[in-house]
């Protein structure tokens, strides 16, 4: 193709990517208090009831908190990653069309989609790392809790957040604004309850059908992986298996999420 007389050099993709990320982080910073309340309040309430009140009433045996804490972190992560990607997109594509100024950026559309996922990962990490110390504070001493494997915790957080942000991208571009309530009750709520967040996967041996059915739920691998990294003494899946599952699920959601975004962005 003949050059068109516009002498401007092409803008580097990484530079545009960082500008897009900078925008999302600026907005996240402005909304940080609301963001934390929205994504961590529900897990905190769980901590208070199941990690503080019930153990003191004598309903829970000693090391239940060691099972619950990693699960609660997984739940915060899920909530934060899905919401921070899906909610603005549902609004942008369905109603305000605000995202158009970014869709005009001189980069391939899938890079704009990928940026949304990365921004979601960062917000998921912030949420999980915010809940961890507070949960520990409310629950009191947790038998077997260790931060010796913190890099592993971080790896699981990143992989889990990437999988859920990609799912957020898929949901955010596939769902109409009026169905957003449905997204929470039909997709997210069952995922949280059947995600082995509040009980260990090994415990489902009592209901073998459930034990296999829940394996399609990505939250299971985040919760179980977290147990392996934070409270290795409680029963948990082998950590390498949880990592492998998160990579596979993450890639599937990534693929379909970005494809859905592209379809929605280009008419």
């Amino acid at each position: 193709m003949v050059p068109s007389g516009d002498p401007r050099p092409r803008v580097s993709r990484s530079r545009v990517f960082l500008a897009l990320l900078h925008r999302d982080m600026r907005v996240a910073r402005k909304e940080l208090p609301y963001f934390l309340i929205r994504t961590t309040l529900q897990p905190m309430l769980f901590i208070i009831v199941f990690g503080f009140l019930l153990p003191r009433m004598g309903f829970m045996r000693g090391n239940y908190t060691a099972t619950l804490l990693p699960g609660i972190l997984a739940v915060s992560l899920t909530f934060a990653s899905i919401q921070s990607v899906a909610l603005p997109l549902v609004q942008d594509f369905g109603w305000t069309r605000e995202i158009e100024d970014r869709l005009l950026a001189p980069v391939p559309t899938r890079l704009i989609a990928a940026e949304k996922i990365v921004a979601g990962v960062l917000q998921g990490m912030i949420s999980a790392l915010f809940v961890l110390p507070i949960a520990r504070l409310i629950m009191g001493p947790i038998p077997g809790l260790t931060i010796a494997y913190f890099p592993l915790v971080l790896l699981i957080v990143i992989l889990g957040a990437a999988a859920f942000s990609s799912l957020g991208l898929l949901l955010g571009t596939a769902i109409e604004p009026q169905q957003i309530g449905l997204m929470f009750s039909v997709i997210i709520a069952p995922m949280l309850f059947f995600g082995c967040a509040y009980y260990p996967w090994a415990g489902l041996s009592a209901v073998p059908f459930m034990k296999w059915a829940v394996l399609i739920n990505p939250l299971v691998y985040v919760a179980e992986g977290m147990r392996g990294a934070l409270t290795p003494s409680v029963p948990h899946m082998p950590v390498p298996a949880t990592l492998a599952a998160l990579v596979v699920i993450g890639l599937i959601f990534w693929h379909f999420g970005i494809r859905s975004f592209e379809r929605r962005a280009i008419g």
């Binding site: 193709m1 003949v2 516009d6 803008v11 530079r15 900078h22 909304e31 605000e98 970014r102 005009l104």
Partner: protein, 318 residues
Amino acid sequence: MTAPAIATEKLRKVYPAPNGGGEIVALEGLDLEIGAGEFFGLLGPNGAGKSTTIGILTTRILPSGGRACVAGEDVVSRAVAVRQRIGVVPQRPNPDRSLDAMENLVFHAAYFGVPRSEAARRANALLETLNIADKARAKVDELSGGQQQRLMIARALIHEPAVIFLDEPTVGLDPQARLALWDILRELHAAGRTIVMTTHYMEEADQLCDRLGIVDRGKLLALDTPAALKERAPGGTLVTLTLDGDAAVTSDAARTVAGVERVEAEGAKLRAYTQRGGEIIPALIKAAESAQRAVKQIQLREPSLETLFISLTGRTLD
């Protein structure tokens, strides 16, 4: 002769019909060539295919057939290069509501690789020019419709694009804001920008554009300068007489007046089309008087785009 800023060839877009039945043709074989520095208008009623055309040229809609180039780059295979060279003002203001006015501009510039300090300098200059400098730190929700539209124009200009697209930029603006926007567009044109605007307002197209394409139902019906298009309007000048009673009784007499090509009567109004301009007025008054009607008011209209549009499509613009 420089390369055209925009060229389309047999451009076509079909959408699947809702409810599954067949397809809707939004654009049917559009051939266009728009020169660099030209102010080009696409005029047509709602649903004519104007926004689809803009959508394809701005890489937001994929064509179903044919091809289109903007600034020498193909809109499909070289979409990223096209985006680098265009600025877009949307039909409905869609500022980033999570950011203030200034941030809207600086971030948009950043998406195009403009360094921060340079972006801030340009943003200040644009806000000043567009008369919204006092709103730089305001949330965009605090801006009026007209101010938001001006912010959209600033956003479309901040990365200094070669071609600017405006999709119905004055819809929803009050008359004063509309005139202010016209002035801004005239200045941009004078500064040598290529501008492509869609509108369904005749007057706007007539006042601003170098050339106009009249589109309806996905087809380009006419393409020329506003003056040349108006000359093609049927019957030339329109003379309207307002009478003191029903005008129908005067139409037969009016038809016999030399130079009158067509006569329409509606209520108390008698409309006569002629190539002879005001010359026929005395004879028309006599014709009315011969039918026992007195003339209360006379109005003369130059050949207009509206009359041309009606003759091309059989319907009015709105």
